[in-house]
């Protein structure tokens, strides 16, 4: 029989330490929904999504009940919509509304893929989709958008970078009456993964199968609790504890992914080995770093502890799953992490420190609230800096900043739910306007020449 201590450990992880499956995300290819008539294309999109994902939410709930493990979100990612827009040149917002309608029918809480991949230039459909993002996100609730503007193989498309600074501002402005929530659903990527199950950046890449199940696990609370019990051990031992904990968390993700895939009759894609925080107390990545021995997240030592954490999570997780992918690493979304919110309010955590942290962990400048009067070229330059870190280090980086329209440093935006809340952070206001106005392409770095 199973060991009683192990059984109690699992139950404690779920009940007291916020262990959960963060998301089961069904990736659906919409490449067969192209049509020269956009209305026909939209109908095909709707029909395909509601057919493929008809049982997604119910299956998720059944697994949740049977195994006693909370599955917080059931979501859908689709082929970048710009590819569909290319087939007819119609108004992309029609697709956004179709995705919204499909999301409501099947009951998922987010649908990602209102996206364009423009790291080397704009193909038909890309520009019109990007320009429609502010309106699309303002007129829908559950649609998420992402744009890939750079990669290690191609360099950085600076025309897209310039454009995205303005798009992020417009998206915030159009939803200023709703805490600028539009910008919280828009991510700008460098090296975007094609099988990411997490929002807002999920889309179903062109190299993916027709339909696939990807799983994202969570568990910062479990890691922190394991460290709290460890006493006075050295960093090597700390890394080992994190590895073992990550293994257990990931095994659960693998089990749920296998089970969901079997019940839905859809191939299992990947487990994303990410430590994804929530604003709930006890579910914070910042608190793990503080448990390791920092007074506050954001102080010196933060980058080193985060690098160790991120690495240990991967080492533990990779053996626990047959297929690993997506973003896989620790997330540092400021407004979604109680410890980061607190550190940012105290001034311990700054955007500059966050930028350094993004070089050693999973994503990038994520869920950061910036002053409402931040000029668009500064936002573009933030994107360029983050993309450069991703490009040179052969990793995914992203920017999801929210200009808090009408608010200044020290005030707060509150999105509620998983998106959380956060203070408006200080932004360096020296102007990069001339650099951004040049446009063009930052050439691919030497790192790209691996062949």
């Amino acid at each position: 029989m199973l060991n009683i201590t192990n059984i109690m450990e699992t139950i404690r992880m779920i009940q007291d330490e916020n262990l959960d499956i963060r998301t089961i995300t069904m990736g659906i290819s919409l490449l067969d929904c192209c049509d020269s008539d956009i209305d026909k294309s939209c109908e095909k999109v709707y029909d395909k999504i509601v057919t493929r994902a008809a049982n997604l939410v119910k299956t998720g709930e059944d697994i949740e009940k049977e195994y006693g493990i909370p599955i917080i979100n059931k979501r859908i990612s689709v082929t970048p919509i710009a590819m569909l827009v290319a087939s007819n040149g119609g108004d992309p917002v029609k697709y956004a509304k179709t995705l919204q309608r499909a999301a409501e029918t099947v009951g998922v809480n987010f649908i990602g893929g209102y996206s364009a991949l423009v790291h080397k230039g704009f193909a038909p459909g890309d520009l019109s989709l990007i320009q429609s993002i502010p309106q699309a996100l303002a007129e829908t609730e559950n649609v998420c958008s992402s744009v890939n503007i750079g990669s290690t193989k191609t360099g950085i498309n600076m025309d897209a970078v310039r454009l995205m600074g303005s798009i992020i501002r417009q998206t915030s402005e159009l939803t200023a009456d709703r805490q600028c929530i539009g910008a919280a659903k828009l991510v700008v990527f460098c090296n975007a993964p094609e099988d990411n199950p997490f929002m807002a950046g999920a889309f179903h890449g062109a190299g993916e199968p027709d339909c696939v199940i990807n799983v994202g696990v969570s568990g910062p609370g479990v890691v922190r609790a394991a460290l709290a019990k460890s006493g006075n051990c050295n960093i090597t031992e700390i890394a080992d504890i994190i590895k073992k904990t990550a293994f257990k968390i990931t095994r659960m993700g693998q089990l749920v992914g296998d089970e969901a895939s079997r019940r839905l009759g859809v191939p299992f894609g990947i487990v994303d080995l990410s430590l994804a925080p929530t604003p709930a107390i006890g579910d914070s990545v910042a608190h793990i770093l503080e448990e390791i021995g920092l007074e506050r997240c954001g102080g010196y030592g933060t980058t080193a502890t985060l690098a160790m954490l991120n690495d240990a999570v991967k080492k533990g997780g990779v053996m626990a799953s047959s297929k690993v992918g997506g973003l896989s690493g620790a997330f540092i979304p400021v407004t979604e992490d109680a410890g980061m919110i607190n550190a940012a309010k105290l001034g311990a955590l700054t955007i500059e420190k966050l930028e350094a942290m993004t070089a050693v962990c999973s994503v990038g400048l994520d869920m950061i609230v910036i002053p409402g009067d931040t000029p668009q070229e500064i936002i573009s330059a933030m994107i360029a800096d983050e993309a450069a870190i991703g490009m040179v280090n052969w990793k995914t980086t992203a920017v999801r900043v929210i200009p808090a329209i009408g608010k200044k440093e020290g005030e707060e935006l509150n999105f509620g739910g998983l998106l959380g809340k956060g203070p408006v952070m200080h932004v360096n206001r020296y102007s990069p306007a001339k650099f951004i106005s040049r446009g063009g392409q930052i050439p691919a770095p030497l790192q790209s020449l691996k062949n």
């Binding site: 029989m1 199973l2 060991n3 009683i4 192990n6 059984i7 109690m8 450990e9 699992t10 139950i11 059944d62 009940k65 049977e66 195994y67 006693g68 493990i69 257990k248 095994r251 659960m252 693998q254 089990l255």
Partner: protein, 89 residues
């Protein structure tokens, strides 16, 4: 199919009797029982065979949780695979 039933709470007379009676009522066959006192709490873990259950597994789970509330005990019933996958390679 097998499930793990855990019972946690303040120790008192008749816990095992009540839980095993309920298992018999729903045709859940008890394969193994392990009990101990952890951090002043009575803790019992049962491995049960639920392949001949006379109701849906989810109903059985609800009934057991409800019975636990009546006894001021925390009762959970989960598929055994979750423990196997987490604690064995």
């Amino acid at each position: 199919m097998r499930a793990v039933l855990t019972v946690i709470g303040k120790d008192m007379v008749g816990i095992l009797a009540k839980v095993s009676t309920a298992c018999a009522q729903y045709q859940a066959n008890i394969i193994d029982v392990n009990q101990t006192v952890m951090q002043d709490l009575f803790t019992m873990v049962m491995l049960i065979d639920i392949s001949k259950l006379n109701c849906e597994f989810s109903d059985f789970q609800d009934k057991m949780t409800e019975m636990g509330k009546g006894m001021e005990m925390d009762i959970h019933c989960m598929h055994e695979n979750i423990f196997n996958s987490m604690h064995t390679i």
